[in-house]
C-alpha cells in the first residue's frame, strides 16, 4: 500500500515543468517526512523542497484542505467566509514536487527512523519534522470532554467547530449572554479569545444589541489587555465583561444540558458558550515521547531538533520554544529556521543563527486593527525576546484603519508563503 500511495503521490505531484527543472529522483536523496500540514508543516515542506539540498519531501496530513484559525474570528463576526480562509495542498504537490499523503501518522519509531500510517505501511526518513499543533487537556474542566465539544464548541481549530459556534450565535435571541472561557497560559494565539469577544460584539452590536459577552478567564491578566479594554470601551461600551480567575476562583465544571459554567464562586448561565480548554502539544507529540512533563516539546533553539529524540524536529504550537508565542507567524518563522537547519545538515554546510520574528494583527473591529512585532533569538539554550513593539492606545482611527488593510494584505501574502 505504501508503495502504491507514494508512487501515486509522486506521479500526481510532479508537473512536467517540475520534472524538467529537477534532477532525477534517486535513492541517494535524503528523505524528510513531515507530519502535520498546518502552518508549520506546510511551510517547512515548501522551504525544504526549494532548498539546494533537494531532499525528497513527504508531507503527511489527513485533511484535504486547511482552514486557518487566524482570521476565523472575522468569520464569527460575519465579515469573512470560511472558504476564504481555506487552502489546499495542490500547489505544494504540483509546483514544489512535495509528496502529499492524506493519511494520519500513527506512530514514529525513532530508532528504525520510520513513520507508520493509519491506513497501513511505513515511511522511512533521514529527518522527521513533527508539527501536530495542539491537543486539549479535557480533564481540566469537569464535564468538558470531546463529546461536549459538539454542544459547546471550543472553535480553537478552525472548521466545523467554528461553523457550529457561528450557527449558535446566529440563532441566539437578542439579549442573550455569550460566555467565553479563556484558557491558562501557554495556549495557541494569545490575543485570540479577546479578539473573539471583540468581533462577536461587533456582530451583536448590529443584530442583537441587547446581548452581553462574559469572559471567564483562567488568568488574571491577558495579552494586549490595555488595547482590548480601550477598544471595548470605544466600540462596545457595556457589552463585554471580563472576569479574572482571582475574582471567580477559576472555572471548575460545565453542564452541557443547561449550558451553565461553574466557577470557584458563582455559576453562570450562557445562551451560547465557548470553552477554550487548557492545551498541550498535539497527540502524536505525546505518544511519540517528544513532549516533556509540561506537555510541550523541548527543542534545540538553533535547529528545532527535539531534545528527546535525535533526527526528529518539532515546530509550531507543539514546540516549547522559550519566549516564542504560539502563533501562526511564529510557526512559519520556526519552520523556515528548521528547514534551513535541516538543509545545512544534509549538505554538510555551516549552520547559521536563525532570524526569529513574530507579528500578529488583531482586530478590535473590522476597521480597527492593532499589531505587535517581536524579535527573538537563540540565547542560553533557549529563545529570548530581544525587541518588542505594540500598537498604542490613542492611535488615530486612520492608523487603525490602515492596520486593518495591512492585515488583509498580510493574510494574502502569508498564506501564499505557506501554501504556494
Amino acid at each position: 500500500m505504501t508503495w502504491t500511495r507514494r508512487k501515486f503521490g509522486r506521479l500526481a505531484g510532479a508537473s512536467l515543468a517540475a520534472l524538467a527543472a529537477r534532477p532525477a529522483r534517486s535513492a541517494s536523496r535524503a528523505r524528510v517526512v513531515i507530519i502535520g500540514g498546518g502552518i508549520a508543516g506546510a511551510t517547512v515542506a515548501k522551504y525544504l523542497a526549494t532548498s539546494s539540498a533537494r531532499p525528497e519531501v513527504t508531507l503527511v496530513e489527513p485533511k484535504q484542505q486547511y482552514t486557518t484559525c487566524f482570521f476565523s474570528n472575522l468569520y464569527l463576526a460575519g465579515v469573512r467566509s470560511l472558504e476564504s480562509l481555506t487552502h489546499s495542498y495542490q500547489a505544494l504537490a504540483k509546483s514544489y514536487g512535495i509528496n502529499v499523503i492524506h493519511d494520519a501518522a500513527t506512530t514514529i519509531d525513532p530508532v528504525a527512523k520510520t513513520v507508520a500510517l493509519a491506513a497501513g505501511g511505513k515511511l522511512a526518513y533521514d529527518r522527521a519534522v513533527v508539527a501536530p499543533g495542539i491537543a486539549f487537556k479535557y480533564g481540566a474542566i469537569e464535564g468538558y470532554n470531546e463529546a461536549a465539544t459538539r454542544i459547546i464548541p471550543h472553535a480553537w481549530n478552525a472548521g466545523p467547530q467554528t461553523e457550529l459556534l457561528r450557527r449558535q450565535l446566529e440563532s441566539m435571541e437578542d439579549g442573550g449572554v455569550f460566555v467565553i472561557a479563556a484558557p491558562p497560559n501557554p495556549f495557541r494565539c494569545p490575543p485570540g479569545p479577546y479578539e473573539r469577544a471583540s468581533l462577536v460584539a461587533y456582530y451583536f452590536k448590529q443584530f442583537k444589541p441587547r446581548s452581553k459577552i462574559l469572559i471567564l478567564d483562567a488568568k488574571d491578566t491577558f495579552f494586549e489587555q490595555d488595547l482590548f479594554e480601550d477598544g471595548w470601551n470605544r466600540h462596545y461600551p457595556g457589552m463585554i465583561e471580563w472576569l479574572p480567575a482571582q475574582f471567580t476562583g477559576g472555572i471548575k465544571s460545565v453542564d452541557t444540558k443547561t449550558r451553565s459554567i461553574k466557577t470557584g464562586g458563582d455559576t453562570f448561565s450562557a445562551s451560547v458558550a465557548n470553552i477554550i480548554p487548557a492545551q498541550i502539544a498535539g497527540e502524536l507529540a505525546q505518544s511519540a515521547g517528544l513532549a516533556d512533563q509540561t506537555g510541550w516539546c523541548p527543542i534545540d533553539p538553533m535547529t528545532f531538533e527535539s531534545k528527546l529524540h535525535p533526527a526528529i524536529h518539532v515546530i509550531g504550537d507543539a514546540a516549547s520554544a522559550g519566549d516564542m508565542p504560539k502563533s501562526a507567524f511564529v510557526a512559519n518563522s520556526q519552520a523556515k529556521a528548521c528547514a534551513f537547519a535541516i538543509a545545512s545538515a544534509l549538505a554538510g554546510s555551516e549552520e547559521t543563527t536563525p532570524h526569529l520574528f513574530n507579528t500578529c494583527f488583531t482586530f478590535l473591529a473590522p476597521n480597527d486593527a492593532v499589531s505587535d512585532a517581536i524579535n527573538m533569538k537563540p540565547s542560553d539554550g533557549s529563545i529570548k525576546i530581544t525587541d518588542i513593539f505594540f500598537s498604542q492606545v490613542g492611535e488615530s482611527d486612520e492608523t487603525r484603519r490602515q492596520a486593518s488593510r495591512q492585515a488583509d494584505s498580510w493574510y494574502n501574502a502569508f498564506t501564499h508563503d505557506v501554501f504556494g
Partner: protein, 107 residues
C-alpha cells in the same frame, strides 16, 4: 612552460572557478534564506495587495528605506523590528537579491 606546470595552473584555475561558483551558490542560498523572512508578509512574486511590493527595487532605494526603518525616521513598528534584526551587510545582501527578482519565480 613545462606541461606539468601548465596542467597545475589549469587545475588550479578550474578549482578556483568551481570554488567561486560554490561560494556564489552559498551566498545566493543565504540571501534566499534572508528573503524568506520578508516573504511572511511581502509576496516575492510581486502580487501584493496593499502592502508594498519589495521586489525589483533599486538597491540604494531599498537600503535607504531600511535605514529609515531602523533609525525610526520611517514609522512602522513592524518594519522597525525587522530592520533591527538585520545587519548592514544583510540589508545589502537583500537589496541585491530582492532587486534582481522579477516576479516570474515560483515564490
Amino acid at each position: 612552460m613545462p606541461t606539468s606546470l601548465l596542467m597545475a595552473l589549469i587545475i588550479a584555475a578550474a578549482f578556483f572557478v568551481l570554488n567561486a561558483g560554490a561560494a556564489a551558490a552559498a551566498d545566493n542560498e543565504r540571501a534566499a534564506e534572508l528573503a524568506a523572512m520578508c516573504a511572511s508578509c511581502h509576496r516575492l512574486d510581486g502580487r501584493d495587495r496593499g502592502l508594498p511590493s519589495i521586489i525589483g527595487m533599486d538597491k540604494q532605494t531599498f537600503i535607504a528605506a531600511m535605514a529609515g526603518f531602523k533609525s525610526g525616521t520611517r514609522s512602522s513598528s513592524i518594519m522597525h523590528a525587522v530592520a533591527l534584526q538585520l545587519s548592514d551587510a544583510e540589508i545589502a545582501t537583500l537589496a541585491a537579491y530582492l532587486g534582481a527578482l522579477t516576479g516570474e519565480g515560483k515564490r
